[in-house]
Amino acid sequence: MRLRIAKKETAGGWRAAAIRIISVLVALLFSGLIMAAMGFDPIAAYLAIAKGSFGSARGLINTVTVAIPLLIVALGLSISFSMRFWNIGGEGQMVMGAIFATYAAHQLPETTPAVLYWVTMALAAMIGGGLYALIPGLFRAYSGTNETLFTLMLNYVAIKVAVFLRLVLWKDPAAKGFPQIKAIPEAAHLPKIFGVHIGWIIALVVTVFVAIYLKYTKRGYETRVVGESERTAHYAGINVRRVLVGGVALSGAIVGLAGFAKLSGVSHVLSESIGGGNGFSAVIVAWLAQLNAPVMILIALLFAAMEQGAMGMELALKIPVSVSDVIKGLILFSALASEFFISYHVVIEKGPRALLRQYRRSGRKELQADTPEGEDQA
């Protein structure tokens, strides 16, 4: 007996969905085993996570608040990913967006109406994130530089720029020597609807925009063609460089917007940790959703719930929060594995002995049925 891997002819939609759901369950099972090995009760832990994230109004509000920047970053990255431009620089683009938004907020006079604050800051954030993504985009388009490492490294650059601003350039003199950037004015804060700052509306608008952009606009269509084959795009008369550079800039601009939402909606003060790891988690969110914008809402909520719930879990059961990172990592792993099982299946091949038996059988059959039968003819 031998195991062989064979390509599947077709994988039905429901089948693929079932495989994906099973993969998440497998990840939860393995995380449970790890927790059990550490001496914790996994069932209680999962219950604590569920209770902490969705169990109360407070928990629900926190979960949605955490999901907002995560969703916006994932949406932004998905535009890069659909061009096969591996933008791992979401963290840096988000920080840059927040830096530009902070700068804009402090340039406006204190008497500026709130709406004008939001619009100016949002635009500034988009310009910041867009320009920052443009750097690796231009290098990739004009000299074929590998964007994965480039965008990754730029994350650390952006974070260090924020540190420099906090310690030196934008250090708030009113903070009595404490190295901190001046908070944005009250008027620039995003108001709350249903207890959550209106970043959730921004996130939903961006979701609709990205879904329509990729599916129904000419530029979105070009984006997908470039992602599939630059050679084909070239043949069809598409200006590959322009599509690539434009797409990456748009991707960065949307990610930058997440920086604004986090700044104006939650932190109110710029610091280097404003990205909060969203740039990395969003890569997983975008992939698990198969770059499908509406599905990203669900995945982002799930991830936020895990993060939010993990805090509840730590309080109630003294299980470290970092367990939720383990779960996230395992979910990504099993998601990757599920992609394999969606397009391939494992066949158990008959061994030589079984084949020999079969040959002998078929040989006997042939001897018995040697009389020619009429061929079926139409």
């Binding site: 599947k8 606009t217 000419k218 599939e228 598409i238 084949l355 079969q358 078929s362």
Partner: protein, 511 residues
């Protein structure tokens, strides 16, 4: 059991093999004598490659039996098959370019720690002489022509002592002269008692070279016939399942005047080597100009220069009197020049494999839609129209292109280009790897365009087709034009000579 009949070299009986729900081989019988050249014929998807992959140990059959020289065998890997003296010569050569013929031939054959080169060289020289191959064992592969590389592949198999050789479309890449040489080698091997399986789409070759033919259709054996007792018409009927008219039309069209004029066109590659050198020709409306040449003689560069994808170093390309060098590919498409190039993998250029037919039709179309949005409705209508017009075999227009068969993929590309109503249609290798039926559909589509006053530049591989379909033929060799001739005034051999670099100045027809 033993009788007076001699034992066949290959005897395959009742071979069946299914891939998921597709029955690639159903109860196939195939038998080749020693000292016989046996052709295996069939359209795309008839089960030829599956059967040969079973014989060379790549697939295990689901059922059936194989006897090699009378001995029952089960091949579990290509190694098992090789050990029984079966050698396959693939279309794509598997040679190390930087090594000599000798090193390529002996690679992987030694058992001890050291290689006895002198003995190997003597054996190779003897084989080369025996079969009149004329291969110098110490020459590097990189300095060899396609035909010589193929000969090295054959030597490699003979060196391993193969008594059974499978050749997969060996003539597709050769000039007529080289084909004659290959046939001489194969004749000697036949005299020597080797069994040869010859796979080809070219019926004339099959009839002139082979002793018997086995025809497969839809995974079943249709029959085995002797070549001296059959005709091309009969073979085609066996392959397709009904009578097919094999002549290609060459309608006379009174065109509306000149379309494309190219003068002194040169294209350099990135290392500064001339890929096209001082190429000039003209093409009129209602005319098909064929381009013949060995692969890599500059056909691709010519197409890409006209389509605006490569910038020529010198020369001019005028379309209806307007210079188009320097215009962007999209501007050129909008002027009514449509180019389709079928690469070896079929999908790499022209189609987006993971998108459906409708979205692929959109590719050359969306730029003309108004506003920032694409008009999917129009593309769907067009896709349905193209699918029914070209009889594309697909479950629907939302079927992913990757899952279509080769012939249908090519029909989608050609259908899309024709649907743009071009004034100049450039089509390169439109029938690459297609079976007879699909090929003829495509020839008639191209003729239809010609009758619509479209100028057609047809880059082809099969000289017989070029001679029948085209009005004039331009021959390229190493990026230079070695002749432009009327298709009705020239023979295949003359074109072959020009492809090899001989100019036919005195026969050139200047229009």
């Amino acid at each position: 059991m033993t009788d007076t009949k001699k034992v066949p070299a290959i005897a395959m009986r009742g071979i069946s093999k299914a891939f998921a729900s597709v029955k690639a081989n159903q109860d196939i019988g195939f038998s080749v004598e020693a000292g016989e050249i046996h052709a295996l014929l069939g359209e795309n998807g008839s089960g030829k490659s599956t059967l040969m992959n079973i014989l060379s140990g790549i697939y295990l059959p689901d059922s059936g039996e194989i006897d090699i020289h009378g001995e029952r065998v089960i091949f579990r890997s290509p190694r098992d098959s090789m050990a029984k003296g079966i050698g396959m010569i693939h279309q794509h050569f598997k040679l190390v370019e930087n090594l000599t013929a000798l090193d390529n031939i002996i690679a992987g054959t030694g058992h001890g720690l050291f290689i006895d080169r002198a003995a190997a060289r003597a054996k190779i020289s003897a084989l080369s002489e025996q079969f009149a191959m004329g291969i110098d064992p110490d020459r590097r592969i990189s300095t060899m022509s396609v035909s010589e590389k193929q000969t090295v592949e054959i030597l490699k198999v003979l060196y391993r002592g193969s008594q059974i050789l499978i050749l997969d479309e060996p003539t597709a890449v050769l000039t007529p002269q080289e084909i004659t040489h290959l046939f001489q080698i194969l004749h000697r091997m036949r005299q020597n008692g080797q069994a040869i399986v010859f796979i080809s789409h070219k019926l004339n070759e099959v009839l002139s070279l082979c002793d018997r033919v086995t025809v497969l259709r839809q995974g079943r054996t249709i029959g085995t016939v002797r070549t001296d007792l059959t005709t091309t018409t009969e073979l085609v009927e066996m392959m397709v399942g009904r009578a097919v008219d094999l002549s290609i039309d060459r309608p006379v069209v009174q065109g509306s005047g000149p379309c494309l004029e190219i003068e002194g066109l040169s294209v350099l590659d990135t290392s500064g080597v001339h890929r096209l050198n001082n190429v000039g020709f003209s093409l009129s409306h209602g005319e098909i100009l064929g381009v013949a040449g060995l692969s890599g003689s500059g056909q691709k560069e010519l197409c890409e220069a006209i389509a605006g994808l490569q910038i020529p170093s010198e020369g001019s390309i005028r379309f209806h009197g307007n210079e188009i060098v320097g215009k962007s590919p999209r501007e050129i498409i909008k002027m009514g020049i449509s180019m389709s190039f079928i690469p070896e993998d079929r999908l790499g250029m022209g189609l987006v494999a993971s998108m459906d037919i409708a979205d692929n039709i959109l590719l050359k179309d969306y730029a003309f839609h108004k506003g920032p949005f694409i008009d999917r409705k129009a593309a769907r209508t067009k896709a349905r129209q193209i699918v029914s017009q070209l009889a594309i075999n697909t479950p629907g227009i939302f079927h992913t292109v990757r899952k279509l068969s080769g012939g249908n993929i090519q029909k989608v590309i050609l259908g899309r280009e024709i649907n743009l109503n071009p004034r100049l249609l450039i089509t390169a290798y439109a029938v690459r790897g297609l079976d007879i039926h699909s090929s003829y559909t495509i020839y008639s589509l191209i003729n239809e365009q010609k009758q619509k006053d479209v100028a057609v530049l047809f880059i082809g591989e099969d000289l017989d087709v070029l001679l029948e379909l085209c009005d004039r033929i331009l021959v390229l060799c190493n990026g230079e034009v070695t002749g432009i001739v009327r298709a009705s005034d020239v023979t295949k051999e003359q074109i072959g000579l020009m492809m090899a670099g001989e100019s036919l100045q005195e026969k050139e027809v200047v229009l």
